[in-house]
Amino acid sequence: MALSASVVAGLQRLLGPAGVVTTLEGRLTYESDMLTLYKGAPDAVVLPTSTEDVQAVVRLCREARVPIVPRGSGTGLIGGATAPQGGVMVSLTRMTNILEIDLTNRCATVQPGLINLWLTNAVRERGWFFAPDPSSQMVSSIGGNVATNAGGPHCLKYGITTNHVLGLEIVTGTGDVVSVGGKAADRPGYDLTGAIVGNEGTFGLVTAVTVRLLHAPEAVKTALASFASLVEASEAVSAIIAAGIIPAALEMLDDAMIGAVNAAVGKVYPDGAGAVLLIELDGPRAEVEAQAERVAAICRERGALMVTVARDEAERALLWKGRKEAAGAVGRITAAYLLQDAVVPRSKLPQIMREMVAIAKRHNLLFANVFHAGDGNLHPLICYDDRNPAELERAQQANEELLHACIALGGSVSGEHGIGMDKAKNLPLQYADADLNFMFRLRRVFDPDGLMNPAKLLPSHPACGEGFRPSRPALPAGTWV
């Protein structure tokens, strides 16, 4: 759909000519997030600088019944910040202020466009940090992290974004500005903050966020353990968790990934290993020392080929370098890949790894693994040749089979990336009709007109439409009605 001239004029009146992008080349910049499989250029992009701007845009769009698509840094992996139905994209990249840092009360309030890492940078010298650390943290925005309830390697110990959001301000789909939560504990009423985090822009646009800050730990220790196979490494992960140790991060790379990383950044991981575990422990020094010994012992018991502990910050940085460069390094082994984000209960990790090997073999595909093993969150890159449509089809088939296997083991379709356009169709694997319908109705409370980021998160499904009636319990036959 194209915007009417009056809507465009209205937007320009609100934000000035520099606040509205309407040229084709300008709009194409915003047509997709990092999952470029889904494309849809908005009819206009607006760049508000205040909550009032955002509210005025929502009201104008609502009046004209134009879809609204929020966008942070555009680093999502789910087809979330894309405009398949056109409409107005609201880019929050000009709302990057830190509104307050309150270390006495362990929190900060920021605008949504602030880059995740900038917040930690602002408090690091005083010994504090913001815990959620998606791999994109150098470029992703806190508003985007809130929208997708983003995770990251250190979420194993510290929890995901929602565990660190104390309050927020949102412009809902009805154009109302609503402040919920805040720095003080225990607000009366429903936990709207908790309900809003992870809404993927379908409830409205978050315009300010109050987050918990944590004091940096006294010590950090990073170890690397190599194993003959993925399955053995997975068994070591399960054993570490079962021993009551929750490392700050527990990441796994398989042989394909090790080869790619070593080729890209130099030999940081041992050749010939079927898998390596990157284990980070943080906390009081004595705790870290004791746990590092136990973790090393567990890895050896589970058949580790080698266990090394970084002796200094330079060695630690090198061990992480491989992990952080992994996504880029993968270009050395494949032109294209599908990225899975499913989760299994962590005790099922060895089992799903065996199934994954079987699926890869069955479809004659290369799977490269780099993932958050500690919480059972898989990230296989399913490699395919994008010049060969039959191979893409096989990759998609393998992807579906793996997802089904994860759900069959009691898992979840997404651990940290979210749903967007990409996984909406998969939600019915995890949820019954009544569950989907409950979500649909919750969304409608915030966005009765269905204008906020349409076609995202919920599937096209009868349970996500008006008039659906989930089945009710059978009542005994009797005379009372």
Partner: protein
């Protein structure tokens, strides 16, 4: 609307849960005797009971341990108590996953015993926690000292099965520790007082129990010194699992040496790390001009019992750690007899007032609310005789835009107003 006689309704209830599990009347809810009390034995029975009650427009009150029934506005009517005591099973416990799925009527104490055998815990410990049902703890967002390190049920509830107002069984969340699949329905349910659904099954995140734990009691001459200590502790690398304030009255109730303000700190990890941090804690106490004493292993159970023994009015004060002095000062100024304790590192305090009537509490509560409102905080009357809560809004004000959203959510999911009607914020 169905028109049904009482006798026919009772028959229908018996038809669902069995005659022996339906009673005419039952234990009173906040002074109101219910018309019936039904104790379903399965979640399907619970859902059918709710469906029936919905169709008959009965006022449903979900009830677990029955220990927190004085939270919220007094009920105008109570037709049917859905008693979850028979829904007390631990359904799935995978120690190696650090997750457990329980039925809502399972008590925290019963679960703790099973978890302890595997060296794990569910760190939820409001006063008297062991007797409380997990469904009730989730519905009322109960919390205690351990929230300093582990957060509250908001951070621990991974998945939840509930009966919607019309009886439709619904699941939200996941059974794994990390999931962002759809809206976070468990968050909406925690603290909702059963007004959006009757909670029936909970999947919870567990934590490994520490290898070793030690507790110290730091005593200070003034609240300002205690606040100085807490600020220094929070700005250190020490990782305590509890940082709990005890004022002079709570110290006395625990038979501890009297001090104007004491802070109990516990650290749980491997023994060498506990020892290493002990030195830092003691140095920080000294820095704030306090004295410190090591407490025995039974300190926290004694503390729990002492708080649970307090009768009368219990106020939950939500503030911030940096306002301890002002908050304590405000409590002392308006409620001179009150005892105060709580998770001071989070700003979650409790004030316990022995003898109060509504007239004596109304003004002070308003002044206290005004003080903590300066940092966006509030005061919830967690427990008080009905006569007080008839005159005082137990929840305190909720900003109008947020309340409008809450009301819209309630209207969407319980348009007939059958789930705990009138008891939640804004009379929802």
């Amino acid at each position: 609307m169905a028109v049904t006689t009482s006798a026919a309704l009772a028959d229908a209830l018996r038809g669902i849960v069995g005659a022996e599990h339906v009673r005419e009347g039952g234990a009173s809810v906040d002074g109101v005797t219910p018309r019936w009390t039904a104790a379903p034995g399965t979640i399907e029975q619970a859902a059918a009971v709710v469906a029936l009650a919905h169709d008959e427009r009965l006022a449903i009150v979900p009830c677990g341990g029955g220990t927190a029934l004085e939270l919220g506005h007094p009920p105008a009517r109570v037709d049917l108590v859905v008693d979850t005591k028979r829904l007390d099973a631990v359904l799935e416990y995978q120690p190696e996953d650090l997750t457990v799925t329980v039925q809502a009527g399972c008590t925290a104490g019963a679960l703790a015993a099973q978890l302890a055998a595997h060296g794990q815990l569910l760190p939820v410990d409001p006063p008297g926690w062991a007797e409380r049902s997990l469904g009730g703890l989730a519905a009322t967002q109960g919390s205690g000292p351990l929230r300093h390190r582990y957060g509250t049920l908001r951070d621990l509830l991974l998945g939840v099965r509930f009966a919607q107002a019309d009886g439709v069984l619904t699941w939200g969340g996941a059974k794994v520790v990390k999931s962002v699949s759809g809206y976070d329905i468990p968050k909406l349910m925690v603290g909702s007082l059963g007004t959006l659904g009757v909670l029936l099954e909970l999947t919870l995140r567990l934590h490994p129990a520490p290898d070793y734990e030690a507790t110290w009691l730091a005593s200070f001459r003034t609240p300002a010194h205690a606040q100085e200590f807490v600020a220094a502790l929070l700005d250190s690398t020490v990782q305590p699992n509890r940082v709990e304030l005890l004022d002079a009255r709570v110290c006395a109730a625990c038979r501890l040496p009297e001090s104007a303000a004491a802070v109990a700190v516990s650290i749980g990890t491997v023994e060498p790390a506990v020892r290493a941090q002990e030195g830092v804690v003691k140095a920080l106490v000294q820095y704030a001009h306090g004295t410190v004493e090591t407490m025995g292993a039974s300190f926290w159970s004694a503390y729990d019992r002492a708080l649970a023994r307090f009768e009368g009015v219990s106020l939950r004060i939500g503030t911030v750690p940096g306002r301890l002095v002002e908050t304590l000062g405000a409590v002392q100024a308006v409620l001179p007899g009150a005892a105060v304790a709580g998770a001071v590192g989070i700003g979650a305090l409790r004030a316990l007032v022995a003898h109060a009537d509504a007239a004596a509490l109304l003004g002070p509560l308003e002044r206290l609310r005004a003080t903590v409102a300066e940092v966006g905080g509030g005061v919830i009357v967690e427990r008080a005789p009905r006569v007080i809560r008839e005159r005082i809004d137990p929840w305190g004000p909720v900003p109008a835009p947020a309340l409008a959203v809450m009301r819209a959510i309630k209207n969407e999911f319980d348009p007939r107003g059958v789930l705990n009607p009138g008891r939640f914020v804004g009379g929802l």
